[in-house]
């Protein structure tokens, strides 16, 4: 793929030919770049991943395709996504992330990795370290409230039986939250503590959905354990 450079404000194409990806914006039915970087056009994968919303998308795209005799030989008539990023895939990866300068923000729905910094009976404060696959430069504050720790028996959840300071937690962003914190949730089997140290300071291993075990002392500690992949 040709590495075409885009600067902010550069016209990329009409909005009915492409779908807007990262680093672009739509102005008066045209797509413009909003970042400095290289242009990447990606064909969407065949519709099989998410049956629910994908179905609706195809319907809209089909209506569009008939009106604007689009020549794209796309099987499911989903528009190709055009995006602008500073390090195109492959180019930036070779240098080892030096080229990638862009900071990302946690968004609602993202899976994040975070470290527990402080616990109170009402919530656990965490520092968000990783969003998706991107390691953040700045630390963003997050909060897992007691009602968001797990999906069932919410009234019986105790924060100190779920998290301890220093634990690494996989969580999902549920809200931008208040002025300081993102609100996170661990109410899913895959979410919860993924790395923990015991009171003795040894790295523990999970034994059940609510227990971690110290291999040296043999003591087990309660945690909201994430299901291993």
């Amino acid at each position: 793929m040709a590495q075409t450079v885009a600067v902010p404000g550069q016209l990329l194409g009409p909005a009915d030919k492409y779908a807007a990806g990262a680093g672009t914006h739509i102005h008066e039915a045209n797509l413009y770049s909003s970042l400095l970087g290289t242009i990447a056009v990606s064909q969407p994968p065949p519709a099989s991943k998410a049956p629910g919303p994908q179905k609706r998308l195809t319907k809209i795209a089909a209506a569009l395709a008939t009106s604007t005799n689009s020549t794209t030989t796309n099987t499911n008539n989903v528009l190709p996504t055009i995006s602008v990023s500073r390090s195109a895939e492959g180019v930036g990866a070779g240098v080892g992330g030096v080229v990638e300068k862009r900071e990302v923000l946690p968004e609602v729905g993202n899976t994040v990795l975070c470290r527990v910094t402080r616990i109170t009976p009402r919530h656990a404060s965490v520092a968000i370290l990783v969003v998706g696959d991107t390691v953040l430069e700045a630390e963003w504050q997050g909060m897992v409230r007691v009602q968001d720790v797990r999906a069932t028996e919410k009234d019986k959840v105790k924060i100190y039986e779920s998290f301890r300071p220093g634990d690494i937690v996989r969580a999902q962003v549920i809200s931008l939250g208040d002025q300081a914190n993102y609100y996170l949730s661990t109410a899913s089997n895959e979410l919860g503590v993924i790395m923990a140290k015991s009171e003795a300071g040894n790295t523990m291993y999970p034994v059940s959905w609510k227990e971690y075990k110290d291999p040296e002392t043999g003591l087990s500690e309660p945690r909201k354990v994430a299901k291993p992949f």
Partner: protein, 289 residues
């Protein structure tokens, strides 16, 4: 001076060096009236910042070895988390700081921000706010710091006293252009590359009629009547900030419009440099790998 924590230099102006042959009166530039001075622009000069840029404007009628009249650096820090005391914000919070280096102008500047620097900061903020897509970055703040290293004041022009602050226009237009490059380098979403440009109504000598020039080299003219600094988005065809200063002769009512139009031309010229420089930034990043 109220700054007692630092060892300050002499207050007020410093004596210029005296040469065997006194520097003559600066003549109006050799360039045409519709040409802006040459601009050097480079991004990524400060490694610790998330985005940075450096801008230099040449001095066409100088004999000094450096040959520049305006030097600016800009650093962009962020987007980063807002301080805990700040209220929730659904969009990015811009804060701009413009600072003259103590040695940037003929009159020595203090380390503390004075009113002209604050003024420039406010103008810069309005110019940039129109270009940034603020709601892409909720709950975050960005600091834009422009340092003026050389302030577009000619040091060997004999009329020292005739300083009416016209050079601030040129400084602001440079600040806008350099900040725009640094923001693009930092990867903050913008609708367009904003660039600054200046047009001024000047008299070239005591007898000549007032005429409009782009990017005025203030010391080269007999008198500056009015000047206009505009921040402009070329692909959107939108003006984000306008700063007009001076007195217009009453005869021509269209002269204000003309002045603004001419400054838009200056903006487009500056923008061409900006786009070229940004293109180079991306290319440079591609070559090593």
């Amino acid at each position: 001076m109220s700054d007692r924590r630092r060892i300050n230099g002499p207050v007020g102006q410093t004596a210029p060096p005296v040469y065997a042959s006194a520097p003559g009166k600066r003549t109006a530039r050799q360039l045409g009236d519709d040409v802006i001075r040459k601009i050097f622009l480079k991004t990524g000069v400060t490694p610790s910042a998330s985005g940075s840029a450096y801008l230099e404007v040449e001095d066409p009628s100088t004999t000094s070895p450096s040959g520049t009249s305006l030097k600016l650096t800009c650093t962009v820090h962020g987007p980063r988390a807002l301080p805990r005391s700040a209220p929730f914000s659904p969009h990015i919070i811009l804060s701009t700081h413009v600072k003259y280096a103590p040695f940037a102008t003929r009159h020595r500047r203090g380390y503390l921000r004075d009113s002209s620097e604050r003024d420039l900061g406010v103008h810069l903020e309005t110019a940039l706010r129109g270009a940034i897509i603020a709601d892409r970055w909720p709950k975050s703040g960005v600091d834009i710091i422009v340092t003026i290293i050389e302030g577009d004041q000619n040091r060997d022009s004999p009329e020292y006293e005739r300083d009416e602050g016209w050079d601030m226009m040129n400084v602001l237009s440079g600040c806008i252009t350099v900040a725009s490059a640094a923001i693009a380098d930092a990867g903050i979403d913008c609708v367009d590359t904003v660039a600054g440009g200046v047009a001024a109504l000047v008299a070239k000598d005591a007898k000549s009629q007032p005429s409009i020039v782009l990017d005025p080299d203030v010391a080269g003219y007999y008198k500056v009547f009015a000047a206009c600094c505009v921040a402009y988005l070329p692909t959107r065809d939108e003006v984000t900030n306008i700063w007009f200063k001076g007195q217009l002769p009453g005869a021509d009512s269209m002269i204000y419009n003309k002045l603004v139009e001419r400054s838009l031309v200056a903006c487009r010229n500056a923008n061409r440099v900006l786009v070229q420089s940004l293109n180079e930034t991306v290319r440079q990043a591609q070559i090593p790998s």
